[in-house]
């Protein structure tokens, strides 16, 4: 560990640390522009110049390019270095428009900071400034090139880090221009990071343009809830409205970046139709009245006839409180999943994950072989694609087994097979990783498993060669990771994935398992769902035995594939109560609504991400109806109140506590007791539920010797007639929260039915044909898109908010040729 002296202060740093990073540890922020922890050092801006006195070529050099060495002596304050840095900042400001008063970066601008730090003041350049024309880069990122200081960060992020190819640097010298070939929407789903990465105001947040400066905002650390990865964010609020989100650095999870869905999906919290007051029979009432009405109804219903349904987006506090409430009131255990298959997949995934298998997204970047099973990262959990790309840049092999037309910003092996074939594909690959001659080194159990692994992918011999090559690569890897989805896969696949990784660990103990779960707190829901719980909520409702249904931040109308059945089942329930912050369909149909807060408001909340990492949000603002909505656009409002309009809403766990108190007559509160102990049981060294910087993993430690292989021998895959309809997620338009966000909606593209060219040829269909898809409960009319890189034998439909797709009676469902026909009619 090199020991060096910077400005007469000594510090020891890990080998390979650059001087600029070593200085940061001492609290010395050497001025910099092009250096960025995630983007590396390139030495372009020349601003981080320091004077080397010992241990390096004597004189000025760039601290971001020089590695710290033992006995090195550095001075950041030497007059030579100071004079040079002053010259550099003067150079960078030669052409700057000095338009801070109208620039959104003001107050959070690295250029402002470094100009002051460099001691630059008056402009002494006698010539005119060079100016640029701006481009329209789409709905998310504003472009103002006059402010550019040519640090190259945007190009390095966009091309090198993220792998997209439609933004770069053109022209030469001080005419250099950073932008696209022509105006047009940026293709990358990570384009919003340009806003964070740009040290000046060239790229600013377009949806929140001119809404305020950094010092106007209420800010706080938050989390993205639009998938199960749990990326860290920082939220900005003003006038009781969520204005924008920024990425927050968490080395273990998302690094320095977030995806555009996460960045722009927050606006659901500002939705004009958000339930802000308690409602009884669709009429607004006071909070007390709402709680009392609900409690009164519930008190008169036999406890066993009350069914509670939470969700994967509830906070851990809400999920726990719900469970405690049901236990205390002698109600049946709450469910958290509407569909039994999803429940099974998540509980299996969660149940089999332990400390020996779990891997964070940050650690995934160092893996050397990734097998993605039933995952479409860009559409399901975009930041996963970015992490996989970093692994790819470091030489990792990546194979994706999935029927969808998966596209990733790097080269990978795509094995486009139908869902029925995915497991077989994966098993053959794993079999090929093991040299049969070394099978003797395996434990008895593992050897038995190895013997039962299939070694040929019989349905398609062409794939066999590819699987062999990939298997060989897997066999040579030291840190392989299996990434297993929970959407496209069959119910038993998560279990299979866990056992495959356990099996791989016999050979190489760097093998890990990474799940993609269906929600930001699906993990918590999975932990709190008892394994014996009968799965199907709808079956329970259809018995007619349920008289009261409580939905906590759950909207089955959004995601349940059979709306007709759902509506019928709900008709059998006398009393429906909803606790939510979304203007969901459920909210429209029930007797009592008690509004809850979003995670941006009022109180802290905990969520457990895909790898079992418990993280907390802090409230950004108090909550209540945004001022712009209260006063009809006039500001400030002219009425004076003694309460916050629309401020009745409380956090879901607080509402449950109140409800519990009202129903049971007991003192409200006690519901959260035991949560901390329960978490501690999961082997997490918690010091209270205080905010931990990177989050803590709450999975059991796991002991390898106790491993039981539960291997499902591969069966013959049933031959099915027709095309299997697969429902899928898209980056924009299918995830419920972001679908209610105005800026995120601008990212949507029109829903399409995707089909393989072979199938299209057989059905005599062409790209862009309007199709009427006949499902059990009705038709879905949608445009066709031919995708050559998907599996034949399936058709793929996104669960898009613009489609009435919830018309399935059973799934998986095979659609016959006569169920797909060309139509001219309107949607």
């Amino acid at each position: 560990m090199p020991n060096l002296i910077i400005d007469e202060r000594e510090i020891e740093v890990p080998k390979g640390t650059k001087v600029i990073a070593a200085a940061e540890r001492l609290g010395i922020m050497i001025p910099r522009f092009c250096y960025h922890e995630a983007l590396g050092s390139v030495g372009a801006c020349r601003l981080c110049a320091v004077k080397f006195i010992e241990g390096h070529r004597k004189g000025i050099d760039m601290s971001c390019m020089v590695e710290a060495k033992d006995d090195m002596v550095v001075s950041t304050t030497h007059p030579e270095a100071v004079a040079f840095r002053k010259f550099i900042i003067e150079c960078l400001m030669l052409n700057h428009p000095h338009d801070c008063p109208v620039c959104d970066e003001g107050g959070q601008c690295l250029l402002q900071d470094e100009t002051v730090s460099g001691g630059h003041g008056r402009r002494r350049y006698p010539e005119k400034k060079r100016t640029y024309e701006d481009q329209d880069l789409g709905p998310f990122v504003q472009h103002e090139m006059n402010r550019c200081i040519h640090c190259f960060r945007c190009r390095r992020f966009y091309q090198d880090f993220a792998g997209y190819r439609d933004l770069g640097v053109m022209q030469i010298g001080h005419r250099e221009y950073f932008g696209r070939f022509e105006s047009g929407r940026l293709e990358s789903p990570f384009s919003g990071n340009l806003i964070d990465v740009c040290p000046t105001g060239v790229y600013t947040d377009k949806p929140s343009r001119f809404k305020g400066r950094r010092w106007n905002f209420e800010r706080g650390p938050s989390l993205c809830l639009h998938c199960s990865l749990g990326c860290n964010t920082t939220g900005n609020a003003r006038y009781r409205e969520m204005v924008s989100l920024e990425a927050r650095n968490n080395k273990a999870v998302n690094g320095h970046f977030i995806c555009d869905r996460g960045r722009f999906g927050f606006d659901f919290a500002n939705h004009v139709d958000r339930p802000r007051t308690a409602r009884v029979d669709k009429k607004p009432v006071t909070w007390q009245e709402g709680v009392e009405t609900a409690a009164r109804r519930l008190r008169h219903i036999d406890g066993q006839k009350v069914l509670c349904l939470g969700s994967e987006r509830c906070s851990l506090e809400a999920q726990w409180s719900l469970k405690q409430m049901c236990r205390n009131l002698d109600w049946p255990n709450p469910h958290f999943f509407v569909e039994p298959e999803i429940q099974r997949k998540v509980t299996t995934a969660v149940g089999l994950l332990d400390e020996t298998l779990a891997i964070s997204m940050g650690e995934l970047e160092n893996s050397d072989f990734i097998l993605a099973l039933g995952v479409d990262p860009i559409n399901e959990a975009p930041m996963l694609a970015l992490a996989m790309r970093q692994a790819h840049r470091r030489g990792s092999t990546i194979a994706v087994v999935d029927p969808r037309p998966v596209s990733l910003p790097f080269s990978f092996s795509h094995l486009a097979v139908t869902p029925d074939h995915m497991d077989l594909c994966a098993q053959v690959l794993v079999q090929k990783a093991f040299d049969p001659r070394s099978a003797g080194n395996l434990s008895d159990e593992a050897a038995h498993v190895f013997a039962s692994l299939p070694n040929t992918y019989t349905p398609n011999p062409d794939l066999q060669g590819r699987l062999k090559d990939l298997g060989q690569k897997l066999g040579e890897s030291l840190k392989p990771v299996v990434v297993c989805g929970t959407d496209m896969v069959r119910p038993h696949t998560p279990g299979l994935a866990a056992h495959m990784v356990r099996f791989l660990r016999e050979k190489v103990d760097g093998a890990r398992l990474f799940h993609v779960l269906p929600g930001p707190n699906a993990f918590g829901a999975g932990m709190l769902t008892s394994p014996e719980e009968p799965g199907s909520v709808l079956e329970i409702l259809e018995t007619g035995n349920i008289e009261a249904l409580i939905l906590v931040e759950q909207d089955p109308f959004w995601s349940y594939p059979d709306r007709e059945r759902l509506e019928h089942a709900l008709k059998k329930v006398e009393f429906l109560l909803v606790l939510d912050y979304l203007p969901s369909m459920a909210v429209e149909k029930v007797q009592v609504v008690l509004p809850t807060c979003s995670h941006f408001e009022r109180s802290s909340a905990s969520f457990i991400n895909h790898e079992g990492r418990l993280q907390r949000t802090s409230p950004i603002h108090r909550g209540g109806t945004p001022i712009s909505q209260v006063s009809g656009g006039k500001h400030p409002p002219r009425t004076f109140l003694d309460h916050i309009p629309g401020g009745d809403a409380k956090a879901a766990h607080e509402v449950l506590a109140e409800l519990y108190g009202a129903v049971s007559g007991e003192k409200e509160g006690a519901l959260l007791n035991g949560l901390q102990d329960w978490l501690a049981e999961k082997d997490a060294p918690l010091k209270g539920l205080s905010h931990q910087k990177d989050g803590i993993r709450v999975v059991p430690e796991g002991v390898l010797e106790d491993v039981v292989f539960s291997w499902r021998k591969s069966e013959t895959i049933p031959q099915k007639k027709g095309l299997e309809l697969l429902l899928t997620h898209w980056t924009f338009g299918t995830e419920q929260l972001s679908a209610h966000s105005r800026p995120a909606r601008k990212g949507e593209r029109a829903p399409k039915l995707m089909m393989h060219p072979e199938d299209a040829r057989r059905l005599k269909l062409a790209d862009k044909d309007r199709i009427a898809l006949s499902l059990d409960r009705g038709e879905v009319v949608v445009e066709l898109e031919i995708a050559p890189n998907m599996a034949p034998g399936v058709i793929i439909l996104p669960r898009h908010r613009k489609l009435q797709w919830q018309k399935l009676k059973e799934w998986p469902v095979m659609v016959q040729d006569d169920g797909i026909r060309k139509t001219e009619g309107p949607k």
């Binding site: 372009a44 801006c45 110049a49 040079f84 150079c91 960078l92 030469i172 010298g173």
Partner: protein, 454 residues
């Protein structure tokens, strides 16, 4: 010391390209033939090192040392790159060299390939040298037909191929690392860390040499290291050098002379001195990125060592002498030079990208009589800062400016004090010109004083 002997240019005129037969008659490809059967590659490297051959592109780095930096166990494939970008203003020696004797460069590349166990050579040439490129391609097909290039050369196990790569025109492409990016079809910024001999073209070990440097290699191999050393004027200046002279001299052109020939001898004897009516004022000894020298320095030997001894910022560069006469306002000349550099800056690093236009602005103000007294120290400070740019381009760009500020301070001050150019030209460019003794059109190439001494 041996007398001067032109064994590269053979005193030829530009249009008198040596054919393969002519080249062979003077001993061409003999060196290659001999070493292919007998010499180990390390020995070739040692011979070139011992000869003291220094890079002729301006840096002066010993060629043999560069070759030795390529590790024997380095991975394959490996590449040899001949740099004929030659965009340094005032420099045209490689143009003559390639027009007159392309085969010596070809043989040099092949021998370099052999010595470094490389498989492929790239000939990188600037777009304004189209004629030269065509001549080179013709020579390549002659060489291939003769069995000197291609698979299993002259029956040996060594195969080598040469590809001609035409640049699209930018000064920074002449910088080795920029060149690598340009060859790879990327923007030619010089941002490569580490040595090209370890990770260069396509991430593989690469040797980049100036075309003139490679031109000497066959002769060194054939005649020996000591022979080469003995050609120069003193032992820190081994071999010959192709000097060029331009400006208002009687015989602007290219001269192959012993390395270390004095500045004065080149200008007055070989280039015939100043045109009648013109007095020598100053010159840039090695292209635009060097410092002005006045007549007092005529005795200085034109080699890397002697030139850098003159003082900080003085260097030989390409040895392309640009002569400025008494009618030239050096402020205007320097302004023209800095305009060139500012325009050609690749834009990667701040001091060059923004600093050069800054210097240009101040100099332009001085030139048109709007300069202020503090411009002098400001310009001098900026010249010093160019040292810390990303590559040596900015440092070179600052050299003439530094020279102007330090050695011609009075001329600069006169512009500031009198608010105009003291040379008082309405039109600083004479028109019509003194007709130069020489050809009117480059194509016919007739009636001209021989530009090389016999």
């Amino acid at each position: 010391m041996a007398g001067s002997q032109s064994f590269i240019l053979h005193n030829r005129l530009e249009h008198q390209t040596m054919t393969l037969d002519e080249y062979r008659r003077t001993g061409g490809y003999q060196g290659l033939r001999e070493l292919l059967n007998h010499e180990a590659p390390e020995n070739i490297k040692k011979t070139v090192l011992d000869s003291g051959l220094q890079g002729r592109g301006g840096a002066g780095f010993p060629a043999g040392k560069k070759w030795q930096l390529l590790p024997d166990d380095a991975p394959h494939p490996r590449y040899i790159v001949a740099n004929t970008d030659e965009m340094e203003p005032g420099t045209f020696k490689d143009r003559l060299l390639l027009s007159v004797n392309p085969h010596t460069v070809i043989e040099g590349m092949i021998i370099a390939g052999y010595a470094n166990s490389a498989q492929k050579g790239y000939f990188f040439i600037r777009p304004s040298y189209q004629q030269v490129a065509l001549k080179f391609e013709k020579a390549l097909s002659e060489a291939r037909a003769g069995g000197f290039l291609g698979q299993k050369i002259l029956g040996s196990d060594f195969s080598f191929e040469i590809v001609v790569h035409r640049s699209a025109g930018r000064y920074i492409c002449g910088e080795a690392k920029g060149l690598i990016h340009a060859l790879q079809g990327e923007r030619p910024h010089p941002n490569i860390e580490g040595h090209l001999t370890e990770e260069g073209l396509w991430g593989r070990p690469t040797i980049v040499n100036n075309a003139e440097t490679l031109a000497y290699v066959p002769h060194i191999v054939r005649n020996g290291a000591q022979w080469f050393r003995d050609l120069g004027k003193h032992d820190k200046a081994p071999g010959n050098k192709i000097y060029s002279v331009c400006g208002r001299v009687r015989r602007p052109g290219v001269f192959e002379l012993p390395f270390g020939t004095s500045l004065g001898e080149i200008i007055e004897e070989h280039a015939g001195g100043m045109l009648p009516g013109y007095e020598f004022k100053a010159c840039l000894p090695g292209g635009a990125s060097t410092r002005y020298l006045t007549k007092e320095f005529f005795h200085v030997e034109m080699d890397f060592e002697s030139m850098s001894k003159i003082g900080p910022g003085h260097r030989l560069g390409t040895g392309a002498i640009m002569v400025f006469d008494h009618t030239c306002c050096l402020v205007a000349i320097t302004l023209n030079l800095i305009q060139f550099f500012a325009r050609e800056s690749c834009g990667w690093c701040t001091p060059c990208r923004e600093g050069l236009p800054y210097m240009e602005a101040l100099l332009a103000a001085i030139a048109r009589g709007e300069g202020e007294a503090d411009f002098l120290p400001r310009l001098q400070e900026m010249c010093r800062h160019m040292r810390n740019a990303y590559c040596a381009f900015a440092l070179g760009a600052a050299s003439p400016v530094q020279g102007l500020m330090e050695d011609f301070e009075d001329e600069v001050k006169a512009h500031i004090t009198h608010k105009k150019c003291p040379l008082e030209h309405d039109d600083p460019n004479q028109w019509p010109l003194q007709p130069m003794p020489g050809i009117e059109d480059l194509e016919t190439g007739n009636e001209r004083h021989p530009s090389c001494p016999i």
